[in-house]
Amino acid sequence: MAHRLAPGFADPVHEGQAVFRAAMEALSRPGRIRPLVTALAPPGPLTPELAALALALTDADTPVWLDAPLRADPAVAGFLRFHTGAPLVAAPAEAAFALIADPAHCPPFTDFAQGTPAYPDASATLILAVDTLSDEAGPGFTGPGFAGQVFAGPGIRGTARLDAGPLPADWAARWAANHAGFPLGIDCLFVAPGRLAGLPRSARPVGAEASPGSEALPCT
């Protein structure tokens, strides 16, 4: 299949560092939106933000799993293979990173590596390209996904509020189960045009402001 290979970072050292620092800030302050600016123009359904995180964090040591829309476009695999050298794996359980362009059909968290009690760090990081990503109060996003979901825990002063979607309808329950398994579990990075938010497994769901269907979960 003939296509022009899209370029990677113009300045790999400093752009990679800037993207990593954005991810580090995002995971260390869960639920808070951080700017993520990139000039990448990757092919097909791979968004510039997904591509930026993939180029900054993955390489030959990190198996990467692509969701169905990303797998369907061979230009995506070509772009990632050329610029990162990361092996693309078919089984989610083998992946260190999962790139997800269609988060509404994200597989269950339990399909991904959870780590082991002795090595909880041997777990997957999910990078999801969502349409809605906001930490501002007020009605607006009604789901499905995190609709006014409130979190507490390490990195959060008091509580943090997050809108993110579209995501599977049972997303809040999935996250509650993911947190309940701490220190095992997966970590998420949500990206949207020009911004990202992090949600490590340590983020404890403490209810939702906007959606009356969600229940407050007991503190663990």
């Binding site: 560092q17 990593f20 580090m24 260390s28 302050r29 900054a56 260190a96 220190p183 340590s202």
Partner: protein, 309 residues
């Protein structure tokens, strides 16, 4: 230390990087590996993430772990401060600052408030840290249980099971032998209610500063190949007993130079006749106060006027 001339402290010096180095010394693949370890360390507060530590152009024990963490996070816009036992002007601090000046060409400072990244050996600055700052600790022995259980396979299981009875026995034996908990540095802490963590050999005086700190705290152990983290605003509790609560050191006199109270003091031997004085361990804190004309007893004795705060 040169407390007599606080004006000489350089603030935000910029020198361009020397040729032939990758930015901040490490190659891109090593940085990505360390960065991935840092992200998992943040997601699992207090858990020690194994990483493939490289040999650095300095001996183990001189901060090879902290240097690798700093090199992995550093960007061109960062302003770096390095302290060794609180001091900006001791060998370890000066050489690491020069290392990053030479390999990354970034700005350095001695002022806590001006720094975006602070690498530290065994102290936390007296000035409160703020959001956006990153504190990088140099760690010699990351495993808090190591001197109680030498086998890595066993300590890993103890962490997996959150089985920290050994540590409480150790603190109890302190009480049985000395009447109080005699551990004064590397005092074990529990992070976010789960992992027991070695705060590196900081004096226990600094443990309360780790709790609910607005800055991100990263720990790097080069020889032991471990990275761990305390995210901002995380509960950090020093282990203790109901009838023997955790207490920090207190000093019965203020800093002899700047008159500061409620800070950690170093003892300085002055002569062979038993003369000594106690001065701020944090040289930037001391010099800042001297710049604001806060004077301790030695300065007042020189005939200068001033008021100890």
């Amino acid at each position: 230390m040169n407390p007599s001339n606080p004006a000489a402290a350089p603030a935000a010096v910029t020198v361009s990087a020397g040729p032939g180095y990758s930015f901040a010394y490490l190659d891109a693949g090593t940085k990505r590996m360390i960065r991935r370890a840092i992200l998992k360390a943040i997601a699992i507060p207090g858990y020690q993430v194994p990483f493939a530590a490289r040999e650095m152009p300095m001996p183990y024990g001189w901060g090879t772990g902290g240097v690798q963490v700093t090199a992995a996070i550093l960007g061109a816009a960062d302003v770096l401060k390095v302290i060794d036992q609180g001091a900006d002007d001791t060998t370890n601090a000066v050489s690491i600052r020069r290392f990053f000046t030479a390999t990354a060409g970034i700005a350095t400072t001695t002022r806590t408030a001006e720094a975006s990244v602070i690498q530290t050996r065994h102290r936390i600055p007296e000035a409160p840290l703020v959001e956006g700052q990153v504190l990088v600790y140099q760690v010699p022995i990351p495993e808090p249980l190591r001197f109680l259980e030498p086998r890595e396979t066993e300590t890993r299981q103890l962490h997996a099971l959150a089985e920290y009875g050994l540590m409480h026995v150790k603190l109890y034996e302190d009480i049985a032998r000395h009447g109080h908990i005699a551990t004064t540095y590397a005092y074990p802490v529990e992070v976010a209610g789960r992992y027991v963590m070695d705060p590196s050999p900081t004096p226990k005086f600094d443990n309360p500063k780790m709790d609910d700190c607005p800055a991100l705290q990263l720990f790097g152990a080069g020889r032991e190949k471990r990275i761990y983290a305390i995210p901002p605003y995380t509960r950090v509790r020093s282990l203790d007993f109901e009838d023997h609560p955790f207490r920090v050191q207190s000093f019965d006199r203020p800093c002899a130079l700047c008159g500061a109270e409620g800070v950690y003091l170093d003892e300085v031997v002055l002569d062979d006749a038993g003369g000594r004085m106690f001065v701020c361990s944090d040289t930037d804190h001391c010099e800042s106060r001297l710049g604001e004309s806060c004077l301790g007893e030695t300065r007042r004795a020189d005939g200068q006027t001033g008021e100890a705060a």
